[in-house]
Amino acid sequence: MPKIKIAHLYYDLMNLYGENGNIRALKKFTERQDIKCEIHFLTIKDKIDFDKYDVYYMGMGTEKSEFIVLEDILQYKEKIEEAIKKGKHFLITGNSLELFGNYIIDNDSNKHEGLNIFPYYTIHEDFRIVGSVVYKSKLIKEKVIGFQNRCGTIYENDKPLFKVIEGTGSTLESKKEGYQYRNFYGTYLLGPLFIRNPYLTNYLIKNIMKNKNKKYKFKMYNRTTEIKAYNTYLENFNITE
């Protein structure tokens, strides 16, 4: 049986709310494909190996947690950069996306150096951006639904993942959101994104498997409850396909 290995990074700090749904979705969706899914929960003080895993997932946290993580993750800068260049999958949701940029200016105007793998930078505003969004991406034809609750805005985002249909982008004015480079997929969306967007999750699983084995045949399941919930949401909130 094929197998994928997932590292859930800083699981005990980056878990603002509902983030646990994402890792559960990755497991369930891969198991549906008869793929074995092994998840390792890693955090501060663990030695994180950026070669060993197929997928690295990190969720949204409080601002305080974000900076605790930043202090720790900086030690892996070169390894992470190398892993991203090699095409390892990074699925990054919420404010953890900010860590991969050049720097972050916090609420007290202090500048924190980021991993500086990507050229964007973040400013923590004195207001929060809260609300539902509808996005479109080049990855799949179906729309992406989600929720944001953040104080950060990302500037100089040169490789956005999503086009904004409804809601807010990287900044208040921007119509683009998220970041994609090779197999690095990052977005400000929080909570159980991979549960709520089954088409996106299927795309990602397929992509992860193809990355391991080019001949991998993905089985599409169209009648899952996740898809029913997704369609019902579009219907209830008048989001047209």
Partner: protein, 450 residues
């Protein structure tokens, strides 16, 4: 002069509002008074005790109980009965009870304070006592996250205030680190609800002083429990007021060796009873004078939401959407009730306060708990029923136990009658509860208490 005008206009506006709307006007008077004289609150001569009660949950119940204990002990108490606790409402409350000479006509001003917005009220006057019940995930679109609320509360704490805190919550304890004023703590001893295992989805999981991961000897629920930092001296110290020998199902506890009977069989009632006891004892009330009120059966709330349905009991519990730990206490309650049970769950909107419909919170609720032999069926209703069904598919609960109701009007009652067994417990949002009550009325069922 502006002060006088503001007081008069507040009273007048409220009287008018009550006459026209035939109900208590809770914000209009305050709004009018603040327009006339924005500093009006800072000019009121406050009584000896100005008490604020805040936190993510339990503040309303604590306020009610404190008010009752004080009133029955002959204190003149002014408090926000209807729980309206934003600036306009607090202004109305204060000015409605202020004499024309500017003096608040009471021994105690007692306020349930909204944790998110109390900084606006507390700009104008100081608290003598403040209870902080807990800081948990609660209505995130409005409250962001626990550490955001922690920061907001921190801003209003002054050294002149006697803090009374739930020591079981590290996020609350962290608020007292630099507090130079009086501090009294309360907390719960290990009990049936306490768990030992390692939880990995906690708020405030790292020490606020040295950023080391906290160790827990037990958890009551969520991040509330007995924590200590392995590196520095940040820890849950022994509470000044300890609730011990806790038996939630039987409804009895002891506080510092005094026997107390609980008003309801929920863990949260242990907390609010202990908090109210702690505060009133700190104010100088004798233990026996507090306990005679708490233990008085005639003050126990009636269980109004119990119905007879087809020869079965149906109890309606309020669904605390977007507060996973409060929601969990409803599930705990259901599991601890005797006999077979059918549970009805669902919601149309995440909130009554705002239009945001985020469903992240259902992933933080421990629905796995319903994987229990006493649960016959789980019936899902409401606009987000497929999201709920998805959530249940990620538990180990047998699929055959789960029923989805497509049409509430036509399908729910026959389904409950023909396909489910045992007492019914519904935990649904406010709007859905109204619909359920209508369906019961159609069936000719009445409230069991009537």
């Amino acid at each position: 002069m502006r002060m006088l005008l503001a007081i008069i206009m507040c009273k007048l506006a409220n009287t008018m509002s009550k006459l026209i709307r035939k109900k208590e006007g809770s914000v209009i008077g305050g709004a009018v008074a603040l327009k006339i004289y924005p500093k009006v609150l800072s000019k009121v001569k406050m009584p000896k005790y100005v008490i604020g009660i805040t936190g993510s949950s339990g503040k309303g119940s604590t306020t009610e109980l404190v008010a009752r204990i004080l009133k029955e002990n002959n204190y003149k108490v002014v408090y926000n009965k209807n729980g309206s606790n934003v600036l306009n409402a607090v202004t109305t409350l204060i000015l409605e009870n202020t004499k024309l000479n500017g003096k608040l006509n009471a021994d105690v001003l007692l306020m349930e304070l909204d944790e998110r917005h109390m900084e606006y009220s507390l700009k104008h006057f100081n608290l003598t006592h403040m209870i902080i019940t807990n800081i948990t995930r609660d209505q995130p679109p409005r409250n962001a996250h626990p550490e955001f609320i922690q920061k907001v509360i921190k801003k209003v704490i002054k050294d002149s205030c006697h803090l009374i805190i739930n020591i079981d919550d590290p996020l609350v304890k962290a608020l007292t680190l630099n507090h130079k004023g009086k501090l009294t703590t309360y907390g719960l001893d290990k009990n049936n609800y306490s768990k030992k295992y390692e939880l990995n989805n906690l708020d405030g999981a790292y020490c606020p002083v040295c950023k080391t991961k906290l160790k827990y000897s037990f958890y009551h629920y969520g991040h509330i429990g007995s924590y200590s930092c392995p590196k520095c001296d940040f820890k849950r110290t022994d509470p000044d007021y300890l609730a011990h020998n806790i038996n939630v199902v039987k409804g009895t506890i002891y506080i510092n060796k005094n026997k107390v009977s609980l008003p309801s069989n929920f863990l949260y009632s242990v907390y609010f009873v202990t908090a109210a006891y702690t505060l009133t004892n700190c104010m100088g009330l004798k233990s026996e004078n507090i306990l005679k009120i708490i233990n008085d059966e005639s003050f126990k709330p009636k269980r109004l939401n119990i119905y007879n349905f087809d020869g079965r009991m149906w109890q309606m519990l309020a669904s605390k959407n977007e507060n996973n730990l409060s929601y969990k206490q409803s599930l705990d309650f259901i599991i601890n009730e005797p006999g077979k049970k059918t549970v009805v769950l669902g919601f149309d909107n995440s909130s009554r306060r705002y239009s945001e419909n985020d469903i992240s919170w259902i992933w933080d609720i421990d629905f796995e708990e319903l994987n229990h032999k006493s649960i016959d069926k789980i019936v899902l209703i409401g606009r987000f029923k497929y999201d709920m069904l998805t959530r249940f598919e990620y538990t180990d609960i047998d699929k055959k136990k789960i029923i989805l109701i497509d049409n509430l009007e036509t399908d729910l009652i026959p389904t409950l009658k023909n396909k489910t067994k045992g007492s019914i417990y519904s935990c649904v949002c406010f709007d859905k509860e109204i619909e359920l009550k209508k369906l019961l009325q159609k069936e000719g069922e009445t409230n069991a208490q009537n």
